[in-house]
């Protein structure tokens, strides 16, 4: 029995491993366990991979370099596009064109030189090529501007994207592939929504170019984006095919698409393709989950009498659904012959139940009025999952799902300014409380959850204040907060944050592995100043362009600091959160019509140059950067 356990070693997650390792040391120190017993317990489990076993490209310092250089190049690129859009009066068009073409050539050639002569700066080289590709886009828009060509986004996006593909392929550059991917996505949805007609050519690009390219570049993220875009494309094009008479049947192709991906994941069970299996699994689960989850929500909703019925559904709908169903069945039949692991076997057994739940959509119109009956498909899946995997996870999710299902349509949002003044203080308190859990109470699970929610609140508040339009509406409705509750909450959050910060005084990196990094220690006090500063600015009637500018600057610094901390401490949630908000912030400012294009250009280019140069310097010293080992 002992032997059996050792053979089937249980895999430990990072958090659990960290906890157990520390406690084993404590128990040995306390005399509860001997060294031998400690070793026996250690050998009982499969421990997560150590850094030495990681491939070179997976090193966190290198990843940080890549992300810094990519952000820098991206900022410079959109800065130059804004500069082109500013349409400098008095500068001859041909001069502008010559500058752009020279910039394209020099960025690419500088990138090639880095790649060829300085292997140490490989990532810098790829970022410069990426910059060249952004300049290429600026060139297309410049010519459009020079000759007053009014082709919309779409044709230009296609031309831009197709010009980038050779670089992604030749240099095996994921970064450049992502840019092309984003532009192709912009192209297809621009075409579809522009003409309000289904856009079929994208299917050829997706299946013939983007899909194979993500396999060639071994890009799992690229493949995930391709698969997710495929689902979105299917949904949007079906909406357009349905026209004005949208009905619940619309979700059937998406559900079948998700199930098809799950079935295809089983075709990736072994060999070289195994690495991509997870991607199909996750995107398939999300697509099928969303589609099947939407079916019961339509129970409480009355059906529109003009909506499509089985007899009037468009031929395109039946073609889509038929092809996808055939795909599911084919993949299912083929996967039976290969060796599957536990997950694969479960998916294989669940497929008929998932199909039944998806096809339930055809019965929905007959169940109108019987709200609870509409829950049948999700109940069916949860019970089948319980039966096959002996896990109650889906049953738990079903309970959470019910929570959202019942008040559906009753949700009413209110958005008072006070909420966003409270958020930075609330976020800081939450974040530091989380740190207390991690550092002092050794409860990393709960601690990380608190940290995540805290930062989310902070970033959301900063993002809100960085928009001039929202800020103006705040100014209009502003009166000095007189509510007792507001000040009480503010006091509690400040007290909590300061208390937690003081308690953490001894937990500073590098003395403590689980301590705050210098960038975080600096940012928390700044965070606490924000609400007070904002109240002062609003009360003294000073809110305006400068305040919005300061909020943007503050948000960028804050996000960069937490991004760097996330990479140094290798915390995936921190990296993801900071990156998502960074993209959101920069994207919103780029699209903001009110700002002068010249100011925008200068702001983006300056920030971009600083970040890119910082990234390149960082790349030189990457081996000396302190990465916190868990």
């Amino acid at each position: 029995m002992e032997n059996g356990k050792v053979e089937a070693k249980e895999k430990l997650g990072q958090i659990m491993a960290q906890w157990l390792k520390r406690h084993l040391e404590l128990w040995v120190d306390a005399g509860i366990l001997s060294r031998g017993q400690q070793e026996a317990i250690t050998n009982l489990y499969a421990w997560p991979e150590q850094d030495a076993a990681r491939p070179a490209g997976d090193r966190p310092a290198l990843k940080l370099v890549v992300i810094l250089e990519a952000i820098g190049a991206f900022l410079i690129g959109i800065g130059v596009i804004s500069l082109v859009a500013f349409n400098w009066p008095g500068l001859p068009n041909f001069f502008k064109l010559a500058i752009i073409i020279a910039s394209i050539a020099s960025a690419h050639l500088a990138g090639f030189l880095f790649l060829a002569r300085r292997p140490k700066f490989e990532k810098a080289g790829l970022s410069l090529v990426f910059l060249g590709n952004l300049f290429y886009g600026a060139g297309i828009w410049l010519v459009a501007q020079m000759y007053h060509v009014n082709y919309g986004f779409t044709a230009a996006f296609f031309l831009w994207a197709i010009g980038i593909v050779p670089f992604a392929w030749l240099l095996k550059s994921e970064l450049n592939f992502f840019l092309a991917l984003a532009l192709f996505i912009g192209w297809t949805f621009g075409e579809a929504f522009g003409d309000m007609e289904p856009h079929l050519p994208f299917l050829i690009i997706l299946l013939g170019l983007l899909g194979p390219l993500s396999y060639y570049l071994k890009s799992k993220v690229g493949l995930a984006v391709c698969l997710a875009t495929g689902g979105a494309w299917l949904l949007v094009n079906n909406i357009l095919w349905f026209g004005e008479n949208i009905s619940i049947h619309l979700v059937a192709p998406l559900a079948l698409y998700g199930i098809a991906l799950l079935a295809i994941s089983n075709l990736h069970a072994g060999g070289r393709l195994a690495a991509y299996r997870q991607v199909y699994l996750v995107i398939g689960l999300v697509a099928a989950g969303i589609a099947i989850g939407v079916i019961p929500l339509c129970g409480p909703i009355k059906f529109d009498p003009r909506a499509m019925t089985l007899a009037t559904l468009p031929a395109s709908f039946w073609t889509c659904s038929g092809l996808l169903l055939a795909g599911v069945l084919a993949a299912w039949a083929l996967a039976r012959t290969t060796d599957l692991d536990q997950t694969g076997i479960e998916i294989n057994k669940m497929l008929p139940f998932l199909l039944a739940a998806a096809l339930f959509v055809f019965l929905m119109p007959f169940f109108k009025g019987y709200m609870t009956l509409s829950l049948l498909p999700v109940i069916l899946i949860a019970i089948a999952h319980r039966h096959f995997s002996k896990s109650t996870a889906l049953l738990n999710i079903l309970l959470v799902y019910l929570f959202f299902w019942l008040p559906f349509c009753l949700i009413r949002w209110e958005q008072p300014l006070m909420l966003f003044l409270l958020y930075p203080a609330y976020g800081a308190a939450c974040y530091l409380l989380g740190w207390n859990y991690v550092s002092k109470l050794h409860n990393a699970g709960l601690g990380n959850a608190f940290k995540f929610f805290g930062l989310f609140a902070v970033f959301a508040a900063l993002y809100t204040f960085s928009s001039s339009e929202i800020s103006r509406s705040f100014v209009k409705d502003y009166s000095f907060p007189s509510s007792f509750d507001f000040w009480l909450l503010m006091a509690v959050f400040y007290a909590g944050a300061i208390f937690a910060y003081v308690r953490l005084a001894g937990f500073a990196y590098p003395a403590h592995k689980n301590g705050l990094l210098p960038e975080e220690r600096f940012m928390v006090p700044v965070l606490l100043v924000i609400p007070a500063a904002l109240i002062a600015v609003y009360s003294c009637n000073l809110a305006g362009t400068r305040q919005v500018f300061a909020a943007n600057f503050c948000a960028i610094c804050m996000l960069m600091a937490f991004l760097v901390a996330g990479y140094r401490r290798r915390e995936a949630y921190l990296k993801a959160l900071a990156l998502v908000f960074l993209v959101l912030l920069v994207g919103s400012r780029f699209l903001e019509i009110e700002w002068s294009l010249l100011y925008k250009a200068v702001l983006f280019i300056l920030t971009g140059v600083i970040v890119l140069v910082g990234g390149i310097i960082f790349e030189k010293y990457k081996d000396k950067v302190a990465i916190i080992e868990q």
Partner: protein, 184 residues
């Protein structure tokens, strides 16, 4: 190994040239069309919006952008949404107006007639349809569009167009009371 490396460098350089060639090909085609084309001046009604990629521009509305199907000669088959269309415009009473529309190039245009190449936008409804000629935007330095918009009520605003043999049109300049606007 070395020859394989030099081939991939050549390919990378070729990719850079492809990008530049793409840009220059649009530029050269537009420039040729602009220089070889016949110049006409038409009345416009401008509106001022902004594009994040190309900057401020004014939307130009022409009389011949909306075709009254009852008043002109046309082949009905060529007037579906998204379809290419050739519109013949002629100068009557000092203004350029549409006189015919067809899905194929009608060949030679008469004296005082111009053939424009466009595409049908919007759904042809009742007796009229919208046509886009690719000359509906004029990009201006930031902030200058508003100024022109203000002038509409008081002044006569026209655009000088250049139309080449194949029917491709470009906007050369915008004129207020017959004088070219200087944006400097």
């Amino acid at each position: 190994m070395n020859s394989k490396r030099s081939i991939s460098w050549l390919l990378a350089l070729a990719a850079v040239f492809i990008q530049i060639a793409f840009i220059l090909s649009i530029q050269v085609r537009k420039e040729w069309s602009l220089r070889s084309g016949k110049k006409i001046t038409v009345k416009i009604v401008p509106v001022d919006p902004r594009s994040v990629f190309r900057g401020d521009y004014i939307i130009l509305n022409y009389e011949f952008s909306r075709l009254s199907l009852g008043k002109i000669m046309h082949d009905k088959a060529g007037l579906r949404r998204g379809q290419r269309v050739f519109v013949t415009i002629a100068k009557t009473n000092g203004e350029w107006q549409a006189v015919a529309a067809s899905s194929e190039h009608p060949g030679k245009a008469g004296t005082d007639e111009i053939i424009l190449r466009g595409s049908v936008t919007g759904w042809p409804s009742g007796n009229s349809t919208e046509v886009n000629y690719g000359i509906e935007s004029y990009f201006v330095p930031e902030g200058k569009g508003k100024q022109i918009e203000k002038d509409i009520a008081r002044r006569m605003i026209t655009a000088e167009l250049s139309v080449d043999k194949k029917g491709y049109a470009s906007v050369c300049k915008i004129l207020i009371d017959g004088r070219e606007i200087d944006f400097r």
